[in-house]
């Protein structure tokens, strides 16, 4: 004989047995696990910087490379070359003072190529209007956080050689 009594639990609770509050809790637990893994990634980044700081203390040796002739560069002229590898674009300028100066062409902000502005006697980055001194590569204006890496040059007779790179210099 069938009874009309109401079941204690509706049928759908058996079919969908996921308990929403518990499920949310599991989500929080998984989220916190993800956060811990991200934290480990950050720690790995800091350890990598520490490792590089100790490894990079010895000055690397740079090969000499001929980059141009001094007689071909008049005041305001520019010579582009790659140093120390083919993937490192550099710019050499004869400044208003008559001095030859060479720098990495990559802006220290976001690595756009800088160019020499003859009128202003400065190196300019067109991407975010960062300006560097053509004499020593220090930041004059704009977002770049550091001076341009300096390419050390040596002149023998008329020939100009790139002999080294001063990568890290103090903030100007």
């Amino acid at each position: 004989m069938p009874t009309n009594t109401k079941p204690e639990k509706p049928l759908w609770t058996e079919e969908f047995s996921v308990h929403a509050p518990e499920d949310k809790f599991v989500l929080r637990r998984q989220f916190s696990k993800f956060l811990v893994l991200t934290s480990f990634g950050m720690l790995a980044g800091n350890v990598w910087i520490l490792f590089r700081s100790f490894m990079g203390r010895s000055n690397p040796a740079y090969a000499e490379k001929e980059v141009g002739l001094a007689s071909q560069l008049r005041v305001g002229d520019v010579k582009l070359f790659n140093y120390p590898t083919a993937n490192d674009p550099c710019i050499m300028v004869r400044t208003r003072s008559g001095k030859l100066a060479a720098f990495s062409q990559k802006c220290t902000h976001l690595s756009c190529a800088v160019y020499y502005s003859k009128g202003n006697n400065r190196l300019e980055c067109p991407c975010h209007e960062g300006y560097f001194s053509a004499e020593d590569g220090t930041v004059l204006e704009g977002p770049p956080p550091r001076p341009l890496p300096l390419i050390q040059i040596a002149q023998r007779g008329d020939q100009i050689f790139a002999v080294g790179v001063v990568e890290k210099r103090e903030r100007s």
């Binding site: 949310k24 916190s32 720690l43 520490l50 956080p145």
Partner: protein
Amino acid sequence: MKPILNELRQRRRTVVDAAVAFLVILLIVQMWLLTATLEAYLAGNTDAAIPGAAVSFVLFLGCFGLYRFVDRIYRT
């Protein structure tokens, strides 16, 4: 019995929420620390590398401890 259980669940969820929020704060600090250390390294200042790594390790331990705390609540 049921209201007590619900209250316990509610309290447990509040504690877990607080732990996750604190974890997020620690992670933001660690992210800032990594950015600052990297910026200093690229500028040629390697003095920040050791304290940066040490503080990052402490923050990681804090995050891991909070995760263990959340995990323990889940298991009990």
